[in-house]
C-alpha cells in the first residue's frame, strides 16, 4: 500500500490535513460543550441543528472513499506528548473509513431521532452533550493511529456510555446498569492497556501502522500469548462476548437512542474493530483461531436462544445484538478471505438493520407506551411508516435476497461450506444462530403490527418525522444493497478486506441464487429453521424460560454477588484493621519496629561483636544508676507526686550524664527543659485523675513488656554495631578548626547552632511558635458537642422513610 499524508501528494495540504482529520474526532466534543445552550436556543429543532455536526463529518469522510479504494492510506498527526512518544495521530484506511462512515452516518439519524424522542425532557441538553461526546470518542477510536491515543478514546467511550446508561438516574436499575457497564468495560480496558503496553515494549512500535509492519513477527514473540489474552479480554468486554456479556442487556435501561447507537451499531462494535485491526498482528495462530471461534460461537448461540425468550422489544434486540457480535468475532477468528468479507458485510448490514429496528422499538414505545411484544398487536394502521421500516429491517436481518444481510450470509456460509472439521461444526452453529436471529427479527416486525389491535396505555400514534426518517432510510439502504454489488466490491470490500487481512483482496460478491452453490442450501436451511421457530415461538419461549429457571443462576446474578461480596469483604477487612483502639495501633507499630531492627542484622549476618565491659568513673556510674532508678520508679509509681518526682529524677540524671561527658550546654538546657516539663506536668496533673497502679492485667503487661524489651534491645544492638564502625570526623574537625577564626565564637556548640546550622535553629523556633499558637487554640477554643460536622445548618436526623 502506498502511504501518504505528510510527504506525499497531500503534502501541500500539510498541517491543515492533519488538523482537519484530527478535527473529525475533536469537533463533536466541541459541539458537546455548547449543546445545552444550542438546545435552549433552538428548542424543538435542536436535533436537526446538532445533526449538522455528524453530517458534516460524514461528508468529509466521503471524500476519502475514492483514494482509499485506490489503496492509499491517509495519515495525520499532531504532536501531543513527544517526550513519551505519544502523538495525536490518525490514519484512514478501508476499515477505519467504513467505521467512520457508519458512526457519523447513523449518528446523524440518531441525533435527529433524539430530538424527537426526548422532546420536553428537562435534561435533553445534557443528553445531546453526552451523545456528541460519545460520537467523538468513537470516531477517535476507529481513526486513531497511536495506540495510546486509541486507548484514550476507548476509555472515553466507556465513560460516555456510563453517563448515558445512567441517564434515567433516579431508578436504581439504571444506576446499576451504568455501574455494571463501567466496571466490566473498565476492567477490560485495564487489561487492554497492559496488552498494548506489552506489545509496544516487545515490538518497539507505538502506533498501529507501525505494528502492522511487524505483522508476522509478533506471533513468534514469547509474550505473544499474554498480549493476545490481554487484548482479547479488552475486546471481549467491550463487545460483550461471553462471559463478559451480561452488561449489554442491562444497558437497555438507557433511553432508546442510546441503545440504537451505542449498544448495537457502534460502541459494542469497538471490540470487533480492535480484533479486525489486530488480525494481521496477532492473528493466524491456533490460539487466535480457537479462542475467537469458540467464544464467538458460544456468544452467538447464547444470544440467539435468549433472544426468543424475551418479551420486551428492546431486550429481544439486545440479545440478538449479542448474538451478532458473537457471529462477527467467530468469523474474524476464521480469518479467511470469505470469512473476513462476510464479517464486513454483516457488520454493515447489522448496523443498518439493528439501528433501524431499535429506533422502531423506540417509536412503538413512544407511540403506545409499552414495549411488551405479547401486549402489542394490530398497529399497522396507526403506525404505518414504522411498520414499513420494521419490515425492511427484518428483511435484511433474516437475510432474504436482495438485502445486504443476504450477501453477508451467503459469503459467510461460503467461507465454511467447503471444509470439513471444524468448518462444518461452526457452519451448523452459524445456521442455528442465523435462524434464531431471523426468527427474532420477523417476530418484532410482525407481531406488534399484524393481527387485531390490542389495547395500549396510550392511544397509538405515529411519532413525528424525526422518529421514522432514520429507520426508513437505513432500512432502504440495507435492503437495496444487493443491487450495487459492483460498487460494494470495489469501493468497500477490497480496501476493507485488505486492511484486515493485510494483503490485497479481490472481492467478487454478486447477487445470485444458484442452487448449485452449497451456500445457498445453507441459506435455505436457515430459513426453514427460522420459520419453524417462528411457528412454535411460544413453545420455544416457555421451554427456554423453564430451562433458565432450572439453572437458576445467571452471570448477572453473579455480578451482583461479586459486587456485594466485595463490599462486604471490604467492610470486614476495614473493620478488622481499623478497629479504633489506639493501644493496638501502637502495639502493631512497635512489633513491626522490632522486626525492622532485628531482621537486617539476621539477614546480612552482621551482628555486632561483644563489647568489652566499659571503664567509667564513679560519678559516671552514679549518674547512670540514678537515671535507671528514676525509670524503674516511674514504672512502679503509685501516686501523682511520685510520677512527677520520678520523671524529674530521670531527666536530671540525663542532664548529669551530659555534663559528665563533656556537654555543659546540653546539661543546662536539659535542666531547664526538664524543670519546665515537670512544672507543667504538675499543673496538669492536679486536675487529672491517675490510676494508682497501672491497670494492665498480667498477660497484657507481659505482652507489652515483651514488645518493649524486644524493640529496645533492638535499638541497643544496632547502636552497638554502629559504634563499632569508625566515625568520619571531618565535619567535627572542620567545626573545631574554624569556629574561632572564621565564625568568631569559642563555644563551638553555640556557633554551630547560630552560624553553621542556623536554619535548624530557625526551624526549631518556628516549632515553638507553632506549638504556642496551637496550645493557645487548644486551651481557649471549646467547640461544644463536636459530633456534628461543621457548616451544616441542620443537625442530622435519622429519617425513617
Amino acid at each position: 500500500m502506498r502511504f501518504f499524508g505528510l510527504d506525499g501528494p497531500g503534502a501541500e495540504l500539510g498541517p491543515s490535513l492533519d488538523f482537519s482529520i484530527a478535527l473529525i474526532a475533536v469537533a463533536p466534543f466541541l459541539a458537546a460543550l455548547v449543546a445545552p445552550w444550542i438546545k435552549s436556543f433552538t428548542g424543538a429543532l435542536a436535533g436537526w441543528v446538532l445533526a449538522i455536526v455528524p453530517a458534516a463529518i460524514f461528508a468529509l469522510l466521503l471524500t476519502f472513499v475514492t483514494p482509499v479504494a485506490e489503496n492509499t492510506v491517509v495519515k495525520a498527526a499532531l504532536p501531543w506528548i513527544p517526550s513519551y512518544g505519544i502523538s495525536f495521530s490518525f490514519f484512514i484506511d478501508g476499515l477505519s473509513l467504513m467505521f467512520g462512515l457508519l458512526i457519523s452516518g447513523i449518528g446523524t439519524f440518531i441525533v435527529i431521532y433524539s430530538g424527537g424522542y426526548l422532546a420536553g425532557h428537562p435534561h435533553q441538553g445534557r443528553f445531546f452533550s453526552y451523545m456528541l461526546m460519545f460520537m467523538g470518542s468513537m470516531l477517535g477510536l476507529v481513526l486513531a493511529d497511536n495506540i495510546f491515543t486509541l486507548f484514550v478514546f476507548w476509555e472515553l467511550t466507556s465513560i460516555t456510555s456510563f453517563l448515558l446508561i445512567g441517564f434515567d438516574h433516579s431508578r436504581q436499575a439504571a444506576r446499576r446498569a451504568a455501574i455494571q457497564a463501567l466496571v466490566v468495560t473498565g476492567a477490560g480496558g485495564l487489561a487492554l492497556l497492559a496488552g498494548l503496553i506489552l506489545m509496544s515494549v516487545a515490538s518497539g512500535e507505538n502506533s498501529l501502522t507501525g505494528l502492522l509492519t511487524q505483522a508476522g513477527t509478533m506471533q513468534e514473540q514469547p509474550v505473544y500469548l499474554l498480549a493476545l489474552i490481554l487484548v482479547l479480554i479488552g475486546a471481549f468486554a467491550k463487545s460483550a462476548q461471553v462471559p463478559f456479556h451480561f452488561w449489554l442487556p442491562n444497558a437497555m435501561e438507557a433511553p432508546t437512542p442510546v441503545s440504537a447507537y451505542l449498544h448495537s451499531a457502534t460502541m459494542v462494535k469497538a471490540g470487533v474493530y480492535l480484533i479486525a485491526r489486530m488480525s494481521p498482528v496477532l492473528g493466524g495462530t491456533p490460539e487466535w483461531f480457537w479462542i475467537l471461534t469458540l467464544f464467538g460461537g458460544l456468544t452467538l448461540l447464547w444470544g440467539g436462544v435468549l433472544a426468543v425468550r424475551q418479551t420486551d422489544l428492546k431486550q429481544i434486540l439486545a440479545y440478538t445484538t449479542l448474538g451478532s457480535l458473537g457471529l462477527l468475532v467467530m468469523l474474524l477468528g476464521f480469518g479467511t478471505k470469505e470469512a473476513v468479507l462476510g464479517a464486513i458485510l454483516y457488520l454493515c448490514a447489522h448496523s443498518f438493520f439493528k439501528g433501524g429496528l431499535f429506533m422502531v422499538a423506540g417509536a412503538i414505545d413512544h407511540g403506545t407506551g409499552t414495549r411488551d411484544i405479547t401486549a402489542l398487536g394490530g398497529l399497522r394502521e396507526h403506525l404505518p411508516v414504522t411498520f414499513i421500516a420494521a419490515v425492511l429491517g427484518a428483511f435484511s436481518m433474516a437475510g432474504f435476497p436482495i438485502a445486504l444481510g443476504f450477501l453477508a450470509k451467503e459469503e459467510m456460509y461460503l467461507a465454511l461450506v467447503h471444509g470439513l472439521w471444524p468448518d462444518l461444526f461452526f457452519l451448523a452453529v452459524l445456521i442455528a444462530g442465523n435462524a434464531l436471529m431471523m426468527a427474532a427479527g420477523i417476530l418484532i416486525a410482525t407481531k406488534p403490527f399484524l393481527g387485531p389491535l390490542k389495547p395500549t396505555p396510550h392511544e397509538p400514534h405515529e411519532g413525528g418525522l424525526p422518529l421514522w426518517i432514520g429507520p426508513v432510510i437505513l432500512g432502504v439502504m440495507g435492503v437495496s444493497a444487493g443491487l450495487f454489488t459492483d460498487w460494494i466490491n470495489h469501493y468497500a470490500l477490497n480496501p476493507i478486506g485488505g486492511s484486515v487481512t493485510n494483503h490485497a483482496v479481490d472481492a467478487h460478491i454478486h447477487l445470485a441464487f444458484d442452487l448449485a452453490n452449497p451456500a445457498v442450501w445453507a441459506s435455505l436451511a436457515t430459513w426453514a429453521l427460522g420459520a419453524a421457530i417462528i411457528w412454535q415461538a411460544d413453545a420455544v419461549r416457555s421451554a427456554v424460560r423453564r430451562t433458565g429457571q432450572a439453572i437458576g443462576w445467571t452471570f448477572d446474578i453473579g455480578f451482583d454477588a461479586l459486587m456485594f461480596g466485595l463490599i462486604r469483604f471490604a467492610d470486614r477487612v476495614t473493620r478488622t484493621l481499623h478497629h479504633g483502639r489506639l493501644e493496638w495501633y501502637i502495639l502493631l507499630l512497635f512489633s513491626v519496629l522490632a522486626v525492622v531492627l532485628y531482621a537486617p542484622m539476621l539477614i546480612t549476618g552482621t551482628a555486632p561483636r561483644m563489647a568489652e565491659f566499659p571503664v567509667l568513673s564513679f560519678y559516671e556510674w552514679g549518674a547512670i544508676l540514678i537515671a535507671a532508678a528514676g525509670l524503674i520508679a516511674i514504672l512502679l509509681l503509685r501516686t501523682r507526686l511520685t510520677a512527677i518526682v520520678a520523671l524529674g529524677i530521670q531527666g536530671f540524671a540525663v542532664a548529669l550524664i551530659f555534663l559528665l561527658f563533656g556537654a555543659p550546654d546540653l546539661a543546662f538546657t536539659q535542666f531547664m527543659v526538664e524543670t519546665l516539663s515537670v512544672v507543667i506536668l504538675a499543673l496538669v496533673m492536679t486536675r487529672l485523675h491517675l490510676d494508682a497502679r497501672d491497670p494492665r492485667e498480667f498477660e497484657v503487661a507481659l505482652r507489652d513488656g515483651a514488645v518493649a524489651v524486644a524493640a529496645a534491645t533492638g535499638f541497643a544492638v544496632v547502636l552497638l554495631s554502629v559504634l563499632q564502625l569508625d566515625l568520619d570526623l571531618s565535619l567535627t574537625e572542620f567545626f573545631n578548626e574554624t569556629s574561632r577564626p572564621l565564625a568568631h565564637g569559642r563555644n563551638i556548640v553555640n556557633v554551630i547552632l547560630v552560624d553553621y546550622r542556623a536554619i535548624d535553629t530557625l526551624g526549631e523556633i518556628s516549632v515553638v511558635m507553632a506549638a504556642g499558637i496551637a496550645i493557645m487554640a487548644l486551651v481557649r477554643l471549646k467547640g461544644g458537642d463536636g459530633d456534628t460536622p461543621r457548616g451544616i445548618s441542620r443537625p442530622t436526623e435519622r429519617r425513617r422513610t
Binding site: 485495564l190 495501633y585 536554619i759 526551624g763 499558637i773 461543621r790 422513610t801
Partner: protein
Amino acid sequence: MATAATSYDALNLPPAMIEGATAPADWIVVWPVALALFGAGLLVMLRNQRPLQSVFAGLIVLAIIVSNVYLLLRVFEAGPLAMTMGKWLPPFGITFVADMTGALFALSASVAAFIVVIFAKVELDGREYRFGFYPLLLLLLCGVSGSFLTGDIFNLYVWFEVMLIASFGLLILGGRRIQIDGAVKYGFLNFLATALFLIAIAYLYGITGTLNMADIARKSAEAPVGPLLTASGLFLFAFGVKAAAFPANAWLPAAYHTPAVAVSALFGGLLTKVGAYAAYRVLVLMLPAGRDMLEPVILAVAVATMILGPLGALAQTNLRRAIGFLVIGGIGVLFAGLTLGTQHGIGGGVIYAVHSILTLTAFYLVGGLVERMSGTQDIRYMGGIYTVNAPLSILFIILVFAMAGLPPFLGLWPKILLVEGGVRAGDWVIVTTLLLNSLLTLIAASRLWAHIFWRNGHEGARSEQPNDTLRRLTSDEVGLGLAPTIALVALIVVLGFFPNWLIEAGGVAAIDLLEPERYISAVFAGVPQS
C-alpha cells in the same frame, strides 16, 4: 593544640566559605520557606484584623507560587539549583537544593494551599481567625516547602516537625470533641513516626559522619551493609508511617475527617506526600543500596496499601473517611513507583504525586460542598445533587474519573508510565496490583457518585422521592467555595490534556534521583577542587 599564631594563615585552615557573591537569582531557593515563615509571624501580629488575614495569606501564598514557578523553570533549563546557608561550604553548612522532584512537589503543594486559603473563608468563624488558622496554615506550608527544598537530613527532620506541629494546631482548631479524639490518635502516631525518623538520622550519622544529603549519597556506596540496611529500613518505616502506608495507616482515617473541610483538604493533599517524597529522596538518592535490598519489603507494602486503600473507601458510609482511604490508595501507587526503582517507576511516581496532590485536595473540597448542601457526612442520607447543581456534578464526575486514572484526565499518564515500568521490569505483581487499584478506585468512586448525585433521595427511599434535606449553596459558598474548586479542577483537566511538560519533568526528576551526579555537582559547585 594551643598555638599563639596571630595570623589566620598560619593556622592552615581548610577551605571554608564560598568565594564570591551569590547570584541574586539563586536566593529564590529559600524564598518559599522565608515567605511562609515571615507571613506566619505577620499574621500572628495581625490576628485581630479579620479581613486582612485571608488577603495577606493569599498574597503570600501567591508569592510562594511565583517563586516555585521560577524555580521550576530554572531547574528545567539549568539543572538542580543549590545554595548553602551562611556561605559555608557544603557539607559543613546546610544546603538548600531545588531539583526537579523538589520543585514539582513544592509547586503543586503551594497551588493546593492557595486554593485552600480561599476556600477556608467559607467555613471559618471569627474566633478561628483570632486563634491562628492562617498563621498555622502558613507554618504548615513553611514546613512542607522546607521539606521539599532542603538538602540536609537533620534539617528535613526540623521541617517535618514544623509541619507536624502546625498540623496539630489545624487539626484541633475549633476544639470539638471529635477533633480531640482524632488528634490524640494522629498526634501520638505521628510523634512516634518523627521519633523513629530522628533515630534513623542518628544511626546514619553514626555510619557516615555527615548530614548533607549529597555527601551521604557519595559516601553510602562504601558504607557497611548491615548497619546501612538497618538505617534504610528504619527510614522506610518512619516515612511509611508518615505517608500512611500499610501497616501503619490507621491514623489517617481516624483523624482526617474530623476538622474543617479546608484542613482535611490540605492534609489529604499535602501531608502524606511529604512522607512519600522523603522516602523517594532518602531511598533513591541517598541510600540506593538500601533501596535495592529492601525492594521485596517495599513491594509488599505497596501491594498491600494499593489494595486496602480503595477497599477501605468501598466500606465507608462517611464521605470524608472514604476520600481518606482513597488517599491511602494513592500512597500505595507512590510506593509502587519506589519498588520499581527505574526511570519509568520513579518518574511515574513523581508525576502521580503531583496528580494526587491536586486531585485529592479538589476531591475533599468538592466533598465539603456536598456535605454543606446535604447537611450530613453520611452518604446514605445524601442524594439528588445531579438534578440540582450542574457545576458541582461536573466537578465530581471529573474527579471520579481523574482519581481512577481514566483518560483523558491527569491520572492516566502516571499510570501508563508505571505500568510500562512494571512490564519492562517483568514485575507482573506490580502491574496487576496497579490495575486492580485502578479498578477498585473506579468502583468506589463511581459508587459515591451514584449514591450522592444520581440517587434522588436517601438510601432506601422510593426513587421519585427527592431529597428534602438538600439545600442550595449560598452565594458565599459559590464565590469562595465553588469558584476556587472549579479553578483547581480546570487546572487538573488542562494538565491532563497537555501533559507533555509534566511527563518530561517526571523523566528528568527520575534521572536526577537515580543518577545523582548533577545533584551532587550542583551542591558542591562552590567547593574548590583540592
